[in-house]
Amino acid sequence: MRDFSYLRATSPDAARQAAALPGAMLLAGGTTLIDLAKCGVAEPDALVDITHLKGLDAIEVTERGATIGALARMGHVADHADIKSQFPAVSEALWQAASAQIRNMATIGGNLMQRTRCPYFRDPSNFSACNKRQPGSGCSAIGGVTRGHAVLGTSQACIAMYPGDLATALVAFDATVHLGDRRVPVDEFFLLPGTTPDKEHAIEPGEMITAIEIPSSIAARRSTYLKVRDRQSYEFAAASAAVGLELEADGRTIRTLRVALGGVATKPWRAHAVEAALKGKALEPEAVRAASLLAVEGAVDHGANHYKIELAPRVVARAILKLGEAA
């Protein structure tokens, strides 16, 4: 049997130090980590439980923005009155994620760090080739079942989709990740697979997510998260969009637009091209639909996931138009 040690961290520093040791991993809600340990993907020698640390679960919303502690539960953040009013896309992304039971357990820090749902990644006993798990071993997904895989940001080494909803909303609104004193923009926190798909985040051993910070903006206040999937609930996105909108005083010209895509890319995907194309334009269905096609510029499919290339722009367009209607 694989033994591992379990340590209940008493301070953030102690947690960071303990987790810096080889084979050690931070344990928050455990909804990703325990699952991966059962699949044989995660094989920690030591678990450092951070859920008893004090003060890391606060949700603070001021005029400048929101600061959400790494240990805040998904469910609490989704239901927080100020998050709902100031950052509706963040609340909506969270309540459409996972299930109520998981949202009650899972933390914001752990949520950002969740791993791909690539079935080959999750089944080491049957599929030994996986560059994300075992650098250089190859990729079992390419040429296999790819319905859920990414069409954006892929590389020859890995086409795994980043499945999280929250991070998609965060990247749309220029959030930053707090690693103690170090601040990393969310967009830079998530790495493209390139030739090193095993390295997913800009976080170093000995670092820990302590909070995320989302700056306030008019677009964030007028925002939404639209998630499309075959099953109405408890499924990862086939394609999703986090969108925020700020109009000029005329009520129809777009001053600022924020667009990010989920369910289609190897990392939370900011669609700057759509934003730029519509900036200064009138919010008209035709124009919005045409510009939304830019969301999947450069997309590459692997057969069964081709539908994502058609679906994603439609999701973006719908989300923008919905915000436009809700004046």
Binding site: M1, R2, G40, R117, P119, Y120, D123, S125, N126, F127, G143, G144, V145, R147, V228, R229, D230, R231, Q232, S233, Y234, E235, A238, H306, Y307, E310, L311, R314, V315, A317, R318
Partner: protein
């Protein structure tokens, strides 16, 4: 001779007959509910046994080939490991008979494979002191293979046309000629994927040997059949095997047979001299036994411009495994739903490298209905006739295949009642003509049917000293309500309150029952309990009348009334005593009666065969009648035009299951079938990696079944009438009926909404985008 009046004896009507809650026909809630909700119900593998050891399976990672070598060194050295079983080290068993009781070939049986015919086959097992140790050591077993090319599925170039199953051929008239001559012809192919039962409780067992006696705690839809298999494997007398299965967390057809993992656990227990527990992981439940076979059908219909069918030609194919045989009868609904003068249906099975498929809720009827009920919808649009109207125009007044009268067929009533409640008359006929914002709205209809499978059962009913009643039977309750309806049956028959009835099920030491499958159990067991309870009541009343110590002895009555646990003279002019009081006065501590529904002259061998095989099930067309349950489903879908997502927004189903023993439970089963059908239509599919012949979505995060959010309000309406040709008390099958026809009703509604005909299940968004 004694005659007695019986409380409630005239209540042989339908659900609407106003029966009291506790009588047969009453809406009594599940009597096992509180135990399940509070956690008091102890499931099979939750038994706490002294010295329990734990087993974990090692499965093949290739789909075809041979095991070259198994290196167990590292596993054996792992902490807590007691034994590593491989094909070379596991004890040899004998091959057991199949479920028809066909004598098996006289050869050894090894539940661990050397010849690999599918990915996920059991090749080794590790037994350890703890579950965690067993699982960890199982990962250390190294299996070397010589791999050969696999036939992955029906579309594999190597699959071929398969094996014709002549027994499935049904023909009358000249179907080909009539089709060629028909003015309107449609022809289309319909496919269903591999689907899985996905019960909440995974398969598993605890096996314990005491000398040559084996006790198995295992969720089971068929204690006596499984006990027979274990007995044959281990060459011990049938009586030496005891199966215990008081509660079952869902079966849907998958828990009726003893399977290879059971043989592994029982072998390990025997080899170690310790009880062994083995529970499948969720991924193993996708390959450890078979789900519904993937199917392909072609349906061609020749008709007049009036939509009247002149010919149906149907060809079907289902997958089976390389060395097992599973026939999913694809022509079963095709051949009886509509009247046609000319008909031809044939079926092949194709061997592929998969686990042998198995029974899953309405095997045969379910995919069969997807074919014919989609095809007739296509015909309706082709000739421009309302899909409901075309079904009525082709209504089969008798069984077109057996050429016998229906015992009862309330399908016309189902169409009428369902249409009325759904508001079908307001449907706008053109596809894409109903819309709400981004949603295209579609209305679809389809019919379903399931045959009445009949067999015999046996039960003991005891009237105990305190006046309560005890029922025992080796039948089972996997959530469908056996505990409850048998309590109702005994309560009504004896004349006590259902609260005063204790029903004991799920132990093969109890009086015997056949398989809980094919929706037969309620009809079989209410009959047996009714008979046993009647004879217990006869004894009670007999004692009351004739025993000199009875207060009724001097009455000179030839009939007494037993109701609410009290015995009275019919006109209320004599004593009024409780059952308990009577038993006390006459000095009896209980009355016991066994009842069975077997033919009177049945031999011991007949009984054994009846309870341990399905060979004695009565054909549904036996005698003068053809017996089936029927239903009509009306479904509304909303399809997001941009996204291709389908949501079912309304279901109204009218169903004929004959008399309902408990309408509340019947509705719950019907709704369960409808929900499962929604999953089948929109979500469920085993997704195969064709390079490896392996299902990759083998877990409940990736194999999608509906959530509550996917399910709208479902209205079910009973249109049945008692059918005494089908069962003693007039009921027909309930459990499987309602899933039949849901998938085509949804596909038809999707066509109405979008103008796109999806003939490949499930209807996922990329098919509509």
């Amino acid at each position: 001779m004694t005659v007695h009046a019986r409380h409630g004896s005239t209540r042989h009507g339908d659900a609407s007959d106003g029966a009291s809650m506790e009588a047969v026909g009453g809406r009594l809630s599940r009597v096992d509910g509180p135990a399940k909700i509070t956690g008091a119900a102890r499931y099979a593998v939750e038994q706490q046994l002294e010295g329990l050891a734990y087993a974990a399976l090692v499965e093949s990672t290739i789909a075809s080939g041979k095991v070259r070598a198994i290196d167990t060194t590292r596993a054996e050295a792992a902490p807590g490991v007691l034994k590593v079983l491989t094909p070379d080290t596991i004890i040899s068993l004998r091959t057991a008979s199949d479920w028809f009781g066909t004598p098996p070939p006289d050869k050894p049986y090894c539940p661990l494979a050397r010849d690999i015919t599918f990915s996920g086959q059991h090749v080794a097992a590790v037994i350890a002191e703890t579950f965690e140790q067993a699982v960890a050591a199982a990962a250390l077993v190294e299996v070397g293979y010589d791999e050969t090319p696999a036939i992955v599925d029906l579309s594999d170039g190597k699959a071929g046309d398969g094996i014709p199953i002549d027994a499935m051929t049904k023909e009358w008239g000249d179907a080909a000629a009539a089709f060629a001559a028909a003015p309107v012809r449609i022809c289309a192919a319909y496919n269903t994927p591999r689907e899985y039962q996905a019960p909440m409780e995974p398969h598993g067992l605890i096996a314990r040997w005491e000398g040559d006696h084996l006790t198995v705690w295992e969720p089971s839809q068929w204690l006596d059949g499984m006990a027979r298999t274990y007995a044959e494997w281990f060459e011990v007398p049938f009586e030496n095997v005891r199966l215990i299965s008081p509660y079952i967390g869902g079966g849907f057809g998958s828990k009726a047979l003893a399977l290879s993992h059971g043989a592994v656990a029982a072998s390990a227990a025997k080899m170690l001299g310790r009880p062994v527990r083995l529970v499948m992981t969720r991924p193993q439940t996708f390959t450890g036994y078979g789900g519904r076979a993937a199917t392909r059908q072609t349906v061609t219909i020749g008709a007049g411009h009036d939509g009247v069918i002149q010919s149906i030609v149907h060809r079907g194919v289902n997958e089976t495994s390389i060395d097992g045989m599973w026939v999913e009868p694809l022509g079963s609904v095709t051949s009886i739903m509509y009247a046609t003068p000319n008909f031809s249906s044939k079926q092949n099975v194709v061997r592929v490298n998969s686990v042998v498929p198995g029974a899953m809720r309405a095997p045969g009827e379910n995919p069969s209905a997807f074919g014919i009920e989609s095809a007739i919808d296509e015909l309706a649009y082709e000739v421009g006739i309302d899909p409901l109207e075309i079904r009525l125009r082709n209504y089969a007044e008798q069984d077109p295949h057996a050429k016998k009268a229906w015992s009862t067929r309330q399908l016309r009533e189902a169409f009428a009642t369902g249409a009325e409640r759904f508001g079908w008359a307001r449907r706008s006929p053109e596809p894409r003509s109903m819309r709400d914002g981004n949603h295209l709205i579609g209305w679809g209809v389809a019919a379903g049917t399931y045959p009445v499978r009949r067999a015999y059962g046996e039960a003991v009913v005891r009237i105990l000293a305190d006046g309560s009643v005890e029922v025992e039977s080796s039948s089972i309750d996997m959530g469908q309500g056996t505990y409850t309806i048998l309590a109702q049956t005994a309560a009504e028959t004896v004349g006590v309150s259902a609260e005063d009835v204790v029903v004991k099920l799920g132990d093969s030491r109890f009086p015997r029952a056949g398989v809980t499958g094919g929706s037969r159990l309620a009809g079989v067991m209410t009959g047996a309990v009714h008979k046993a309870a009647t004879s217990a009541l006869d004894q009670l009343v007999g004692l009351a009348i004739s025993d000199p110590r009875s207060p009724f002895n001097t009455l000179q009555a030839n009939t007494l009334t037993v109701a609410n646990g009290r015995i009275t003279a019919p006109r209320g002019d004599g004593p009024d005593v409780s059952i308990a009081e009577l038993l006390r006065r006459v000095g009896r501590d209980q009355i016991e009666a066994t009842g069975d529904t077997m033919p009177a002259n049945s031999s011991a061998e007949d009984r054994y065969r009846n309870y341990t095989t399905i060979a004695m099930s009565l054909p549904h067309t036996e005698g003068d009648y053809s017996r089936h349950s029927w239903c009509a489903h009306f479904v509304e879908v909303r399809v997001d035009e941009d996204f291709g997502t389908v949501r079912v927004s309304r279901v109204v189903s009218a169903l004929d299951s004959g008399r309902l023993y408990n309408p509340k439970l019947a509705e719950s089963q019907w709704k369960g079938g409808i929900i499962m059908g929604i999953g089948q239509a929109l979500l469920e599919e085993g997704i195969l990696d064709r390079r490896h012949g392996r299902i990759v979505n083998n877990n409940l995060a990736d194999y999608l079944v509906p959530t509550n959010a996917d399910i709208p309000d479902i209205e079910t309406i009973s249109v049945g009438i008692p059918d005494l040709h089908s069962s003693v008390l007039g009921g027909k099958g309930v459990g499987e009926l309602a899933i039949v026809g849901i998938a085509p009703a949804i596909a038809n509604a999707v066509f109405h909404a979008t103008g796109k005909r999806v003939r490949d299940l499930p209807i996922t968004l990329e098919k509509l985008i």
